[in-house]
Symmetry: C2
């Protein structure tokens, strides 16, 4: 992607990436993003689930949501995603950092009106959260599809920013007898917990290998 | 806190909380927030570390950061935080949800200029990331403090939104032989990994019990 004045970071520009592969891999790993927009001149943001397919990021929401109604007009939005990999513990507080992979995307919504395309996007969003589950679930009804707004955001003005590796302490601090290194931040899916209406239902294959 | 038109959610208003205890507990558990503002009429947002003390949320950043220079002017910001506890897997895609605890805060920056207060806030931010570590680290220098901007945001217009519990499937779906329940989302600190400059330094007490 072409860097723009908005996607070139003012700090640590060497940590920025503009290739689709890096941007897409972060978007595909993250389950949630934060969508920001301007309403009546004021900033407003909301965390939500999303999915990417080709060069479009998709969100969904209730047709009754005030926020969705604003952004479906096509006003400018800024979407950010952050994956945190480790706390970077240096010998000085000033050199502390975080190993992260983040994406910033500037775009505007295109409302998906076509019925079959809406259903397809809802499948992508559902299967991002629980892979391979769509065909197992009770099929969506027309009424449910109608109650849901689906928005697509072209990924054209975006960049990734990443930090990896060990602390970068000042040279004069390196010999200090102070521990420095990484504290990994772990995240993942745990063991499924059935509700009262699934006591006699076997855990399906696609949930068995999730954790 | 007093609910306002901006902090009352347009959907699932019963999931909203306005008491300090709920809002503060989410802010204190989350390591990162997303700060949004309006620059030249456009939305802009950035994920960053933060700490809360009493009724103020504190951020820090480089004095050279374009974003920090904008928000230190006192323009309106929207700060969001989300903790995700579980994926809520229902018998229909439409009833899928997420168990989360989020906060939305509208505020404006107050720049902390007083030297000792700046150092104190930097201690809070550092010790949120690595509790009890401040006194162990190489002390901050005056030059490092000068290179850092510290901003405080009063927590007055804020709300929390939380979802807990099992899926809420439609009554007519409850007897379907489809598995429903929760997939916990786990996150936490892993086992510390020393860098090359700490091979002979014992892991300090405050890092030993972190994972």
């Amino acid at each position: 992607m072409q860097p723009t004045s908005r996607t070139i970071p003012s700090r640590s520009a060497k940590r920025a990436h503009y290739d689709e592969e890096t941007v897409y891999s972060i978007l595909d790993e993250a389950l949630f993003c934060t969508v920001s927009c301007v309403i009546n001149g004021q900033p407003f943001s909301i965390p939500t689930a999303f999915a990417r397919y080709e060069n479009v990021l998709y969100l969904h929401g209730s047709v009754g949501s005030h926020f969705i109604r604003e952004i479906e007009k096509g006003i400018p939005v800024c979407i950010t995603v952050m994956l945190t990999d480790a706390l970077v513990v240096a010998k000085s507080a000033f050199s502390h950092s975080v190993n992260y992979r983040s994406v910033i995307l500037f775009s505007t919504a295109e409302k998906i009106e076509e019925y079959d395309k809406k259903v397809e996007v809802l499948k992508w969003i559902t299967e991002k959260i629980v892979p391979n589950s769509w065909g197992y679930l009770r099929p969506m009804t027309e009424s449910e599809v109608r109650k849901t707004t689906v928005l697509g955001f072209k990924i054209e003005e975006a960049s990734a920013k990443t930090r990896t590796g060990m602390p970068n302490d000042e040279k004069e601090d390196l010999d200090l007898p102070i521990w420095s290194g990484l504290i990994p931040l772990r995240s993942g899916r745990g063991i499924p917990v059935a509700d009262d209406f699934s006591k006699n239902v076997p855990l399906p294959e696609h949930l068995r290998h999730l954790s």
